[in-house]
Symmetry: C3
Amino acid sequence: MSASAWRLSQDDTAAEPPRHGSSTRRMLVVAATVVLTLLGAGGLAVAGSGVFSAERPEGCTKPDRSIQLYAVELPKDGTQIRLGYGLTPQTASYPGPTMEMMEGECLAITLHNQVPVATLEQLRTDPAHPLGVSLHVHGVKYTQLSDGTVQSGSFVPPGQSRTYTWFAQQRNNRTGSPGTAGYWWYHDHVVGGPHGTQGLGAGLFGGLVVRRPGDPKPDRTYTVVFGDRQSINLRRGAATDTCDAQNPQPGPTCLVARKGEKVEFIVVGIGNDMHTFHLHGHSWADTRTGVVGNGQPFADSVPIIDNKPLGPGDSFGFQVAAGDSVGPGHWMLHCHMQFHSDGGMSTMLHVLDESGAMPPGHDQHSHPATAAAGTGAGGAGEHQHN
Amino acid sequence: MSASAWRLSQDDTAAEPPRHGSSTRRMLVVAATVVLTLLGAGGLAVAGSGVFSAERPEGCTKPDRSIQLYAVELPKDGTQIRLGYGLTPQTASYPGPTMEMMEGECLAITLHNQVPVATLEQLRTDPAHPLGVSLHVHGVKYTQLSDGTVQSGSFVPPGQSRTYTWFAQQRNNRTGSPGTAGYWWYHDHVVGGPHGTQGLGAGLFGGLVVRRPGDPKPDRTYTVVFGDRQSINLRRGAATDTCDAQNPQPGPTCLVARKGEKVEFIVVGIGNDMHTFHLHGHSWADTRTGVVGNGQPFADSVPIIDNKPLGPGDSFGFQVAAGDSVGPGHWMLHCHMQFHSDGGMSTMLHVLDESGAMPPGHDQHSHPATAAAGTGAGGAGEHQHN
Amino acid sequence: MSASAWRLSQDDTAAEPPRHGSSTRRMLVVAATVVLTLLGAGGLAVAGSGVFSAERPEGCTKPDRSIQLYAVELPKDGTQIRLGYGLTPQTASYPGPTMEMMEGECLAITLHNQVPVATLEQLRTDPAHPLGVSLHVHGVKYTQLSDGTVQSGSFVPPGQSRTYTWFAQQRNNRTGSPGTAGYWWYHDHVVGGPHGTQGLGAGLFGGLVVRRPGDPKPDRTYTVVFGDRQSINLRRGAATDTCDAQNPQPGPTCLVARKGEKVEFIVVGIGNDMHTFHLHGHSWADTRTGVVGNGQPFADSVPIIDNKPLGPGDSFGFQVAAGDSVGPGHWMLHCHMQFHSDGGMSTMLHVLDESGAMPPGHDQHSHPATAAAGTGAGGAGEHQHN
C-alpha cells in the first residue's frame, strides 16, 4: 500500500536523494494514525490525520439539509447527447437546478446516476476510463470523498448513488478562510475522461449561490452559461430566444422581469473558449455581489462594468434593478466576441413595465427591413429622425 | 400588434398555458398608460409604464449638452474599408473622438450617417439586413430609442440623422445604481449584421470616460484599442509607431508625454480575440480610476498590475505619472500574447524629460544589430558590461 | 543625432502640420538640458533630464542587495531547446529561481549570458536580430537601461554580463505611485525576436513576489506557469505530476504541503493563449495578497474565487491554508479549459496530514477501472453507496 509513503520530511527545502526501504518510518506513521484516531474518537478537537474525518469538511458536524439529485439522459439535441441534473428525474435540465446556500450551512446531496450505461460508454473514448457521473462543486468546502473525481474515487457508477457533502464555510480570520459566499457552479468531473469534458458538454452543470447574512435578496435569478460549440441555454441560431411571444414566462431560455425588480444573474463559463458577457442598458459593480452598499468607504474605487471576460470554470454574479433609468424593452444579452454573437450567442432580457406588460413600440419581432424603413417601431418608440 | 402580449403574469413562477384574445386586458393597459402619462406630466414622480418616457433615461429631464457626430467613410486601408466617427465629417477617425462626461450629465448626440449606401451594401452579407449606422454605448444609461440596435429600430439609415441620449447616472443607494463613472466606449451595432461586426471592424468605435466629482484629472488622455486581424490604432507591422521622429506630436498613434505628466489610458477591446495589455515601466491599481487615493483603508488590498486581460467589449482605464521613478525613454506598450506582439501589436509611450526633450542615448531607431554590438546607445544610456 | 528631436510642443492638443527645419527650437532644447544638468549636479532635487540618472530608478540611491543570475542552456526536452535562469549555472531551471523583495528594497542582478552562440542563432529566424539574452521584469521599477529590450540596448550579448537594477517602489500618494507589492514575474525579452518569444518558450522566466511590511508570510511558495504547446512546469501527459510516490519532496513539479501550512502560489501566464487556473478544495480572495485581513470594512465585498482567467503576461498570487476544512488528499490543480486539462495541463497539490503523512485511502495511483468498481479507495476514503 503506497498511501503512507506520502510523507513530508522535516528538512524539505533541500532536495534529498530518494530513500528506499523506509519501512520503519512508514510503520510509525501508521501507528501514529491509529493513536490519533482513538483520541479523535474521544471528541478532542486535536488536529491530526485521525481527527479529520474524511466524511465531512471541518465545521460541518452534520448536514443541515439533504436533497436528492438525479443525473439522467435528456432528449438528444439533433445528434448531440444531452444529460441533465434534476431534483427529480422528470425535471432534469441543463443548466441543472440553481442551488442556494447560506454561509454556515452544510448540505448533503445524494446523486443518483440514472444515465444508461450505453450512453456513458458512447461518451468515453478511452475504454479504460470508468463509467459514472459525479458532482464537483466550486467555492464551497468538501473532502476528497465529495471531490467528484476519478482519482479520489468519488463518483457514481451507473445505477448507483452517492452522497456529496458541501459546506458553506464562514469567514474565519484565524484560519485565513475568506468564507465561501459568492457565485459558484457545480458540474460532472468524470463523464468521458478525467475532467468530465463530455459530461459538461452534454449538460451536467448548474449554478450555485452562497449568501452571507445581510446580502441583498433578488426577485428573480437567472443562470446563464456560456460554452463553446453550443451555448447551452443561450442556444445558437433560431432557437436563441425561446420566449413565447404571446405569453412569455420566465424560464431558462426566457429572461423576463418587471421594471424595478431585482434580477440576479449567475454567469458561468464552460468548455474551451473565452467569452465576454455583455448586458445592454445595465451595469453592475465588480464586487462579490455586484452591488455596492450604503456608505462603503471604498465605493468610489469599485470598477463599474457591463462587460466581463469569462473563461471555462469562471463564475460570477450580480444583481441589477431591471430597467433602472433605462425603462422597459428588449435588452440584449450577448457574448461580445463578434463571431460568437454573430453565431447566435445572444438573447434578451425582456423588461416589462411595472404592471407586467411590454409597452407598445417595443416589438422585438419587427422585420429588420421594416425597421430599416422606420416603420417597425411605432408609438412611443418611434424613430427620431431629425 | 403583438407588443402588449408581452405581459408578465402575477403568478409567474409556474408556466401558464398561452392566453389568447386578451383584448380587454390590453385595453386596460393602454388606458392606464394615458392616465399615468397625464399624472406624469404634472410632475409627480410616480412609477409606472406611462410615466417612463422612452425618449430619455430617468434622471435626464433635458440634455445638458448637445453635440453633432458624423459617420463617414475614410480612405481605404489597402483594400479594407474604413469608417470613422468625427465631430465634423473632416475630422472623422478611428478611434473616434474620445468623449468625456461627468456623473449627473445628460448628453444628446445627433449622429449623421454620411456613409455611402454602396459602402454599407458592400459591408453586409445578408441582403435582408437593413442599411444604416448606429451608436451603442457602454456604461451610461439610455433607453431603447438610443440602444443603437436593429431590433429596437434605433439606427440611422443612409443620409439621415438621429439623436441618441446618454445619461451619466449617479450612484443611488435606493435603486441600487452603482453610478456610471468609469472607462467605457461607444460603437456601431448595425453595420453588416445585428452586432455591427463590420462597422466595428471598419473603425466605428471610440472611447468614453465618465468622471465623478473629485476624480483625478489627467494631463493627457490616450485611447488604445486592441482588435484582431488589425490592431486599429496599434497597427501591425511597419506602421506600428507612426510618430514623426523629427517632430513627434501626441496623437492616436503617437503616444508622448513629459516626465511627471499624468497620462490617462482608455483601453478597449474589440473583435473576436482576447488580448493582454502591458505597459513597460509603469503599473497601476486595479480600481475604477487606476489610482489609489489618500488614506483609503483598503489600499493595502488592491491588486497592482501592469498587464491586464482584455476581451471584446471590455474597457478599462487608468492614470500613471509618466516616467515616475523610471525616467524618460521609449516605454513599450504591447499585447503580451507573443504572436500578437510579434505580429506588430506593439507601440511605445515616449516619455520625454520635464523640458519636453528626449535625453541623449534613447534612440529608439538604433539598428538592432548595432545595439547588439553595444554601440547603439551612447551617453547616459550606454551598456553596463561588467 | 536624433534624440533631441523628441520634443513635446506646448500646444499639443491640436494636430499641427509637420514642421520642417526647426533647428532653432532643437538648439534651445539642448541648451536647457545642459543648464538643468548643472543644477542637478549641485545636488538640488530639481526635476529635469539631467537630474534623473538613467542608471537607477528614482528612490534607489544604491542597491541594497546584489545577486548573480546565469542564463544557461538546459538538456533538450525531446527536440525542444530548453534554457533556464539560475542563481548558479548548475541550478538553472524553468521556472527560474523565485525572487522575493520587500517594498523599499533595491536589487542589483548581474545576468551572465552563458547560452551558446549556436543555440541563440538557432532560436532566431531573422538574421538581423541581435544575439543575446535579457531580463525584463514586471511590476517593480527600472530605467531603460534595465528594460531588457533590444530597442533600449539593455540586453546581454553571448559571453557577456550586465547588471539590472530593480526597485520595489513604495506607495507614494504625492506621485500617485500605487507601490509595487504584488505577484510579478521576470523573463527574457530578446531571444529570437523583439519580444523574446523564443526565450520565453524555451524557459527563460521566473516568479517574483514583492511584499509590504505586515504581509502574511507563507510556509511554502510554489510558482506555477501556464503556457501553450508546453505547460512548462505543468508538463503535459505522462510527466504531469513528477512527485516520487515513495518519497515525495516539494519541488517545481511536486506541490506538497502539510495540512494547515500556509501555501503561497505565484501564478504566471506566458505564450499565446488564455488559461483558467483552478484549484480543487481551496479558494481565495481576489485581493493583492489573496487574503482578507481582520476587520477590513470592505471584506464583505471582495469576490472569493477558485478559478481565475490568466493570459500571457498576467501574474497573480494568493495564500491558502492547505487542506483547511477539506482535509488531506490529492487536490487537483488544472487549467479549466477542457482541452487544456484533457491535454495534460493538470497536476496535484498533495496535502498531507499534520504529521506529514498521506492518510490511507488517498491513493492517487489507483487504476481508474479499479476505482470504478469501488475498490480503489479503502479505509476512511471508501465509497458511500446509499
